[in-house]
Symmetry: C2
Subunit: 441 residues, 2 copies
């Protein structure tokens, strides 16, 4: 099966132009969606439960007499654990245990309060505390991923968040047992079968039934993304995700079919997903291309995979592994596989990526489900400035300052000088009042 996959070479004269075409992607904001979402949010803020009920009936075809009917009880979540197969249940529980362990290490490594006293007895530090209540958006319908429930709820749980409220649309009332089972395993506190902008509005503003949360995380469609962007400020949000991406940096030592399947594993997500191979070995690139063509016909999602590879994929021949690393840094991919015999040689050269998968055995899909690290990662080059979802997203920091009487003498003089320089006399005098010498300028 021939696949019209873009092939580039860094030595080619037109490389930069071709490369720009590969990278080009922009999140179109649809003005109609923006307006519709603004209206829904305003309505939910004003009418609460009644508005949420109405939109849920209209958009999800799910009628209910009251919001209470749209709550999934803890008993129903637990019952879902019995509805899935024993193998699924073990896999869910094993994945949850690994994800929990990793995020517990993350909490230990970077999520604890700290403080110190300086020579004059002044205490300085930061107190780290969990958020009180968070909302997790879980998509329903065709892209319902139980692994997303684990990846959003577990770090919140490890952070010590008091209450985790899940919303998941159930079009025509169809509930996904694996999603509900994941909620049971991950320790979700409350769950509602609502979705779309109305669910984001309910979580941000609160209704009589749905409690207002402090932060909303989790992926969703264009309506959900637009709603999250709009409620940002009133509540925290995680990020606005673009299409998923994989970049494989290969030295040619990994079986070519493994790499082909890794490229498929991104491409099968969605036609806009991006799969790129960077490799200094032209012969190896040809082998991977051949494996792609051999394996594609056997894939149930071959149409999506082909559309994704032909639309946004690329095989890029580089002069060297060093150059491949430099190009990877320009892309700042969501998932970066270093499929090399010497992954630790290249890792230090890699500056920007959501997650780095080292060595041939580390297929990206292991990270999606159960290696431990989070699978919610920055996309579209935002790894230049943002990070995987983590315990730190469910905590916040408060600075602690306790100035001693001795400290106030030293700091007061400095602060007063700068405050007068800024024309803020009350700032200056508040510092000067604490000076033993008394008096203000």
């Amino acid at each position: 099966m021939t696949v019209a996959l873009r092939q580039l070479a860094t030595i080619a004269a037109d490389f930069e132009a071709e490369f720009a075409r590969v990278l080009h992607w922009s999140a179109e904001t649809d003005a109609a969606i923006e307006t519709r979402v603004a209206d829904i949010l305003a309505d939910v803020e004003k009418r609460g439960d009644a508005a949420v009920l109405e939109y849920t009936q209209r958009f999800d075809g799910l009628a209910a007499a009251s919001m209470a009917e749209l709550e999934i009880t803890q008993d129903e979540l637990k019952a879902a654990l019995q509805q899935i197969t024993p193998a699924q249940r073990s896999a869910l529980e094993a994945a949850a245990a690994r994800v929990r362990d990793y995020h517990q290490r993350q909490l230990e490594a970077c999520g604890r309060s700290w403080s110190y006293r300086d020579a004059d007895g002044t205490l300085l530090g930061q107190k780290v505390t969990p958020l009180d209540r968070v909302g997790i958006y879980v998509p329903g319908g065709k892209a319902a991923y139980p692994s997303s429930v684990l990846m959003n709820a577990i770090p919140a749980h490890v952070a010590g968040v008091g209450e985790i409220v899940m919303v998941v649309p159930t079009p025509k009332g169809e509930r996904n047992a694996l999603v509900l089972a994941a909620a049971a395993v991950a320790g979700v506190s409350r769950a509602f079968t609502i979705g779309g902008a109305q669910a984001v509005g309910a979580l941000a503003h609160g209704t009589a039934t749905v409690p207002a949360v402090d932060k909303i995380t989790g992926p969703g469609n264009a309506y959900v993304a637009s709603a999250k962007r709009r409620v940002f400020g009133k509540v925290g949000i995680d990020m606005i995700a673009g299409p998923s991406e994989i970049l494989v940096l290969a030295d040619g030592s990994t079986p070519a079919d493994w790499v082909a399947m890794d490229l498929f594993s991104r491409a099968e997500h969605d036609e806009l997903a991006q799969s790129i191979l960077l490799c200094p070995d032209a012969g190896y690139i040809a082998k991977v291309k051949a494996e792609i063509e051999r394996l594609l016909p056997g894939m149930p999602r071959r149409d999506v995979i082909r559309a994704s590879l032909e639309g946004r994929g690329a095989l890029i021949h580089t002069r060297s592994m060093e150059e491949a690393c430099a190009i990877s840094n320009r892309i700042a991919p969501e998932h970066l596989e270093v499929s090399s015999r010497e992954p630790h040689r290249w890792e230090p050269l890699l500056k920007h990526a959501g997650a780095i998968f080292l060595g041939a055995f580390t297929s990206e899909s292991l990270g999606d489900y159960c290696a431990g690290p989070n699978h919610v990662l920055p996309t579209s080059g935002t790894a230049r400035f943002s990070s995987p979802l983590g315990v730190y997203d469910f905590q916040k920091r408060s600075s602690l300052i306790e100035v001693s009487e001795a400290g106030a003498q030293v700091l007061g003089t400095i602060a007063a000088e700068l405050a007068y320089g800024e024309g803020l006399q009350a700032h200056a005098q508040a510092a000067e009042f604490r000076l033993k010498t008394g008096g203000v300028r």
Copy 2:
């Protein structure tokens, strides 16, 4: 001088209604500003330097033949250090040293890479790296604060950011020597005399002269805030700040004039700033009120202070310190002074605040300038879910995963089970290809 300052008591029947009035504030988004900013950003993205030059001439009254003329050289920054007084220079340097020291401690406490290996040799962790290049927006004109330069640039510097680009509008070409001197002290790499939405656009998209950055931090007016919100996603941003706030939680042991001046120090910022006193001692509240009336006439910025106190201030009499702490948590203030003999008794009860100032000697203004912690803090209740600006805002994390061959056997089975459950066969097969047993379902 009588000040019509709102007085509340938690025992009053109408307390909740009155309290809601005190807290009410919403960032009005002005549709005209939104449209104007969208146009400016699109124009800067398209025309680059030419657009920035044109808007700078139009809005700042600053004409230049080329963008190069709008760059402030390192020599000019250094020269500013000679133009300010020796006392100002020492104060700036002392403040910078303390801020640097605090953020260095922050880096040590929570900004280092970490990793571990599990029993089967699989490596898991996170690599923490600095951003390549950041932009710092520094307001010009009447609210030009050199302390803001220190508070934005120093954590970026400590994080290891490669290049720090400052933009500061200079209406009619008037440069503030203290701001430029602060840039020299803080280690700003490049500086441009541009501002408004056009400066944010230049930093986000890059022009021939202004380099594109990865994140933009720093306060600004409504145009700047709107522009930051719009470029979010293309680059990172810090936060959209609302009016400044102080909440003083007092047990009556601090001299009343100190507390009155601390309330003034917020109120003098701006008429929308909010100053609130919470205290269980009615007699002490009366004393603070008397000091407010005694001290106000002597303040140069008395008109702003009065407008702020009368419009948004409040003195709240509580049943107890415990209740005062609970109300403080509902407000989640930007600055929280625990003006008590026993600050460490109350601190554990305080869950949400940007910065907590403990004890009578810790005037909030010391924190604004030189105590060490950052003065860029979450406002408008966002301390429920966000944190002071810090080293962590200038770093990002990449997950590290290296699965051993043994690990791939265990993880591959789990991942495949869950991937098939989600209908993602390529994910499953990528994991199964690494199994020694070979073959896929």
